[in-house]
């Protein structure tokens, strides 16, 4: 993948996914975990949720998908650090977003810090205050601000 020039403040191409009840169940089964808040409507409502909620780590992958696609290779994604906000429910559309906040040279590579977050269809943040670090080969260039 040919990367465009890196600029401070540049937004990463966003990634959107529609979350379904089926996907939440399938995710739980795929990782071998059972937690009633993801599987049992009555339990989830008793705990104060509208209905079952998606696993945070499931929709966190929408963010790592965005970062990995932008970086061009999985090994170039180095770190994410993020908080979970509004719960994600079935039928929500979650959009992962990111913006380049800092760029520095590290040996032959560019070390890029991005602000990251994700939103539901109402613009409410389902993750927030996130930072990510990715590394790109130096030949991608940096145009500054």
């Amino acid at each position: 993948m040919k990367l465009s020039k890196i600029k401070l403040g540049m937004e990463l191409p966003s990634v959107s996914h529609l979350v379904t009840r089926k996907n939440i169940s399938r995710y739980g089964r795929a990782v071998g975990g059972f937690n009633a808040v993801h599987d049992d409507e009555v339990f989830a409502e008793e705990k104060g949720f509208e209905t079952v909620i998606a696993h945070g780590v499931m929709h966190l992958n929408y963010i790592t998908q965005m970062l990995s696609d932008f970086a061009g290779h999985p090994d170039r994604v180095k770190m994410i650090d993020i908080k979970f906000g509004k719960p994600v429910y079935p039928s929500d559309t979650v959009t992962a977003k990111g913006r380049i906040a800092k760029v520095s040279k590290q040996d032959e590579n560019l070390r890029i810090i991005c602000e990251i977050w994700s939103e539901n269809q109402y613009g409410q943040r389902v993750t927030y205050d996130g930072l990510a670090e990715i590394e790109l080969p130096g030949e991608n260039g940096f145009e500054g601000t």
């Binding site: 795929a30 990782v31 790592t64 998908q65 999985p74 090994d75 770190m79 993020i82």
Partner: protein, 141 residues
Amino acid sequence: MGMPMNKSVVGKEYPHVSYEITKEMIVKYAEVVEDPSPYFSDAGAEILYAPHTMVGAYTLLLVPYIVTDKELDLDITKPIVHVHQMYAWKRSARAGDVLTIRGRIAEIYSKNGSEYITFEGDIIDQEGRHVVVAQSTLKVG
């Protein structure tokens, strides 16, 4: 309101859990999180990489130890919500890796009437090298 968590367990380590990352697990995971990248979905590729959150997600294998930990005394009748997550990857996991999770309790604290517990996990490959460090904080109550 139940008893608070026992703060003296900070630093406690859980039994190490090992598992193999198989092609089937990766393809399934990528399908469920709907990541179409060929790095994660092409089972015929020479190297099949695991989606980034997949390796961390398996720290769920520690959940049975945590919820039955009498020393920790976690009140699972309270709402428990995942509020913070950090992953630092040294490299991406790949099909064929045999990974070991070394998990521990890093921190327990109270804020605004809720309790918070932070777990840290080192995920190590078959050669004893770090693949990812994960830190997860749950809010209890």
